[in-house]
């Protein structure tokens, strides 16, 4: 009768993992090339509208963002469910847009100041009243190059 040995001392051959780092590095480089750094943490939630005639925003350093949407769940208690504007990392009133733009512009190089683009990232359900207010503020601050952030639409 065969003996059942409890403490089998036979060792498993070590798995060769020398190519594992290469695979992971490949993944890493893939993600580094297809993604972009997050600008801020969103305090408002929005789904950008869809459009077809889109242009890419080329130089990231020249773009400033204005987010418009309803506060995310964690801020809903404090700020309600009304449409709000976010500048950088904080909620803002529309009257603060002008100062924000002027501050951001003065922080830029002199030759870049005229090339500043403001990207409005707004939820598609937003009422135009809010957007018009923002546009008026931007005009007053002489930030005339704007871009309505949108996603590519494939069909109607």
């Amino acid at each position: 009768m065969a003996k059942i040995r409890r403490n089998d001392k036979r060792e498993m051959p070590a798995l060769n993992t020398s190519s594992l780092p290469d695979i992971i590095f490949m993944l890493l480089f893939f993600f580094m090339s297809v993604t972009s750094m997050k600008e801020v943490t969103y305090k408002v939630q929005f789904t950008t509208p869809q459009a077809t005639e889109l242009t890419k925003l080329e130089k990231k350093s020249l773009v400033r963002y204005i987010y418009v949407g309803t506060p995310t769940a964690e801020f809903r208690k404090q700020y309600g469910a009304e449409t709000r504007i976010q500048l950088d990392d904080a909620f803002a009133d529309k009257s603060e847009i002008g100062d924000f733009i002027i501050n951001e512009r003065s922080a830029m190089n002199e030759q870049d100041q005229g090339l500043m683009t403001v990207s409005i990232k707004a939820d598609k359900e937003t009422r135009m009243g809010v957007i018009s207010d923002i546009k008026q503020e931007l005009r007053r601050a002489y930030a005339l190059k704007i871009s309505y952030a949108a996603t590519q639409r494939t069909s109607y």
């Binding site: 780092p21 580094m32 993604t35 509208p49 005339l144 996603t151």
Partner: protein, 192 residues
């Protein structure tokens, strides 16, 4: 005989690269930044009154969007899918109709020659406070699409290639023939 070099233990390499990978996954986002590029008109100085600029009626295409997101083009209820064709007809005025913008003849040099074009046309977009943003973007999109198609057709006719493939100089020359004139009205308060 060559001396045997002891192998470096690289088992922690995977952990390090995993760490890097996870760091990048967390700090980056997938979405690309693209959008509808527009240019706002310069602000009106506060001491200056808003003037109703005198634009000949035939040179003006009025697109109105109401609070129920309905579209009115030149006083008629229209579907958004038709807007692009309407805008193109308006900008081109091929048959020299009296209700479309006035045509001007100008020499644009080689290879265009003398072209008739509507120099003074303006497309005016007016929206209500309660208009949905998506609908407004749709309208802007269709109008920009109309211009892009006209420019592309022009590029194919004279250069036998798409507008996007042209160099910047020639693109600018075509832009002169089809200047993008989408005006946005000063916001008004409707009702009290």
């Amino acid at each position: 005989m060559a001396k045997k070099i002891p192998q470096i233990n690289a088992s922690s390499m995977a952990d390090i690269s995993f760490l890097l990978l996870i760091f990048f996954l967390v700090t980056t986002s997938m979405d690309v930044n693209q959008g509808l590029a527009r240019r706002l008109p310069a602000p009106i100085p506060p001491d200056q009154k808003v003037e109703d600029t005198d634009i000949n009626k035939r040179n003006l295409l009025v697109v109105k969007i109401n609070s129920a997101n309905q579209l009115m083009v030149q006083g008629e209820l229209k579907d958004i899918k038709q807007l692009k064709e309407d805008a193109k007809k308006f900008i081109l005025n091929e048959n020299d109709d009296s209700f479309y913008p006035k045509l001007y003849e100008e020499d644009f040099g080689e290879p265009f020659g003398t072209i008739r074009y509507t120099k003074e046309h303006v497309i005016s977009v007016q929206n209500d406070v309660d208009t949905q943003y998506q609908v407004y973007v749709n309208v802007q999109n269709e109008l920009v699409a109309a211009y892009n198609e006209l420019r592309d057709e022009c590029a194919r006719k004279y250069f036998h290639m798409g507008y996007n493939e042209l160099d910047e100089d020639n693109q600018k020359r075509i832009q002169k023939i089809y200047p993008q004139k989408i005006s946005e009205a000063e916001p008004k308060n409707y009702g009290n």
